[in-house]
């Protein structure tokens, strides 16, 4: 089974110009706002993995960070939601007669209106070397057999396009990326592993991601990166930030151990 034309690695053609994502200004996405407790609120665009929606979430994330409203303790962007964790005791001071929640609801709605005028900051692009050697990819062979494709083809598809970091969660620095080409989409494992090696690259549904730490995990493992993804000594400990674009690059097992043993 040879490579199909459209799955050849596109690293050469990878440029920022054709990757910049913009928010739809003319047609705002429908959303709803609801509480997640009495000190947190979520704006939800629906249960969707969609670049345009995630871009809107990220635009809101950066706008809110810039605003830096006193009393907001955390802003958590996800696929199609953004959650604000706030200090109710502090917000109460300027919430007026209504509830703190109502104040936050108005604040978010207002933020959305202001946002229409803003452009989204362009995404950072990261190239991540991944070794797809069987010794580091315990599920790859079985997946290829299931999908009746050879290993090279699978790797070519996985490295063909840059992925968007939709969100970070589960573990410190664990980036949820996507979306995968439908030919390599695969469900989570029936029984999660109790031990997944740090740096393991997994897939789950249309998502792909890398385990920054050794941990239990249920994603199908198709490779491993030699890179350190989370460094607690850095002010920005996570290599990935929500909104990043990530391009995987296949490396050999020799290169893997070379990079692993001599991190630059």
């Amino acid at each position: 089974m040879g490579l199909k034309k459209n799955v050849e690695p596109k690293i050469a053609a990878f440029s920022s110009a054709n990757l910049r994502l913009t928010c739809s200004v003319e047609k705002p996405f429908p959303y709803r706002i609801y509480p997640i407790g009495d000190q947190a609120i979520t704006l939800d665009y629906g249960n969707l993995i969609k670049d345009e929606i995630n871009a809107q979430v990220m635009a809101l994330f950066y706008w809110l960070k810039e605003e830096n409203l006193h009393g907001i303790k955390d802003i958590i962007p996800a696929y199609s939601t953004i959650s604000l964790v706030y200090d109710a005791a502090m917000i109460r001071k300027w919430a007026g007669n209504g509830s703190v929640y109502q104040y936050m609801e108005r604040y978010l709605t207002n933020a959305l209106q202001q946002l229409d005028l803003l452009a989204l900051p362009s995404s950072r692009e990261l190239r991540i070397p991944v070794c797809y050697h069987q010794s580091l990819a315990p599920d790859l062979l079985e997946l290829c057999q299931e999908k009746q494709m050879d290993l090279d083809e699978f790797v070519a598809i996985h490295t063909a396009i840059p992925y968007r970091v939709y969100m970070i969660g589960f573990l410190p620095g664990f980036a949820y990326m996507g979306s995968l080409d439908e030919r390599i989409v695969a469900p989570r494992k029936q029984t999660p592993r109790t031990h997944v090696a740090a740096g393991s690259v997994g897939i789950a549904g249309v998502q792909t991601g890398i385990y920054p730490f050794a941990s239990p995990g249920g994603w199908q493992l198709i490779g491993q990166t030699p890179m350190t993804l989370f460094n607690a000594n850095d002010d920005q400990p996570s290599l990935f930030q929500p909104g990043d674009l990530v391009q995987f690059e296949a490396i050999s097992i020799d290169q893997f151990y070379q990079l692993k043993n001599n991190p630059s």
Partner: protein, 325 residues
């Protein structure tokens, strides 16, 4: 100046009010489980309310003071003794160099807090001193305390006394812990529960399973189901989020919770009830009562006000006491 761990407990760690501002990178706040008890011990010794305290579970550690200290205990009652003499919770006391504090039996509650004047010295990571066991940062070398550790005070305290001296006042904490049901604000997927499950949520007990910890309480109850199955994408969750798992049981997220999760959110424990929740042990049962946002907010505001009043009263008494000498 500080305390030496003569004997370690099951899970003793240094905590503050939590690490905020990094949840978008998957880093959980991980502050004290019972933030009321944390504030009470700090108030009793005249610290800022979020100063670093020691959180202890049972079996709790044995600690020796290598310098004089002004200290207080709050939260769980583990029948503490200093040099063999039983001491009360929620009372500040002066202890001389060489005092040994022991915890003899779990009487009530799950987590006891020790505060000292000036707070404990701890590693700072990303703006907070609370322990993150996963990243091995913050607190005492990013880990739980072990035998032989020497936990220093952040500020020297040199008010030497001959023998332990209990100050003649007590913080009344009863009103800080609502008795009765655990207040729950309905979550985004609450309405999707079928009728029997909705009934179960507010009428049946939820027992805390043994595999519960600072990350979350696994609850055992009558099975609950959504009327229509819904697959959720991961999104932000918090301390107190009640999630429905695929096995029809629930998990209640606690202080070390994941920052995001994808299971249906049945509800969120109101802030006012979190400290009571943090004092429950495996085997204890929870009963939920749904409340609306306005009620949740005003109950929390009342709790906050109570703490502020306690702080003002304690500061006044403390200053009076220490300057009268």
């Amino acid at each position: 100046m500080g305390v030496r761990v003569l004997k370690s407990g099951m899970a003793d760690s240094l905590r503050d009010s939590g690490r905020f501002g990094f949840q978008h990178l998957g880093i959980p706040p991980g502050g004290a489980m019972d933030c009321v008890a944390m504030q009470v011990v700090n108030i009793l010794v005249g610290n800022p309310i979020g100063a670093v305290v020691m959180e202890m579970h049972y079996p709790a550690p044995q600690l020796e003071f290598n310098s004089p200290a002004l200290m207080a205990l709050s939260g769980a009652d583990f029948q503490a003794t200093i040099d063999g003499v039983e001491i009360a919770l929620n009372q500040p006391m002066l202890v001389p160099t060489g005092s040994v504090i022991k915890f003899n039996k779990p009487v009530a509650g799950a987590r006891c807090y020790l505060g000292v004047k000036g707070g404990f010295e701890a590693d700072e990571w990303l703006g907070s001193k609370t322990t993150n066991n996963f990243a091995v940062r913050g607190g005492y070398q990013g880990r739980n305390l072990q035998k032989g550790d020497w936990v220093a005070f952040a500020k020297p305290f040199s008010y030497e006394v001959e023998e332990p001296a209990v100050m003649p006042w007590t913080a009344n904490v009863r009103e800080l812990y609502p008795q009765g049901p655990c207040y729950l604000i309905p979550g985004a997927e609450y309405e999707l529960l079928d009728a029997a499950s909705k009934y179960c949520l507010i009428h049946e007990p939820f027992q805390i399973a043994t595999n519960s910890n600072r990350m979350g309480y696994r609850l055992q109850s009558a099975p609950m189901h959504l009327g229509e199955y819904k697959e959720c994408l991961s999104s932000g969750v918090g301390f107190g989020t009640l999630q429905l798992l695929p096995d029809a049981q629930t998990i209640l997220l606690m202080a070390d919770h994941q920052t995001t999760a994808g299971y249906p959110r049945l509800g969120h424990v109101a802030s006012v009830s979190l400290p009571s929740l943090a004092q429950l042990n495996a085997g204890d049962s929870i009963r939920f009562q749904l409340i609306d946002m306005n009620t949740a907010e005003s109950l929390y505001a009342a709790q906050e006000k109570h703490l502020r009043q306690l702080k003002n009263a304690c500061n006044f008494r403390l200053q009076e006491y220490l300057s009268n000498d």
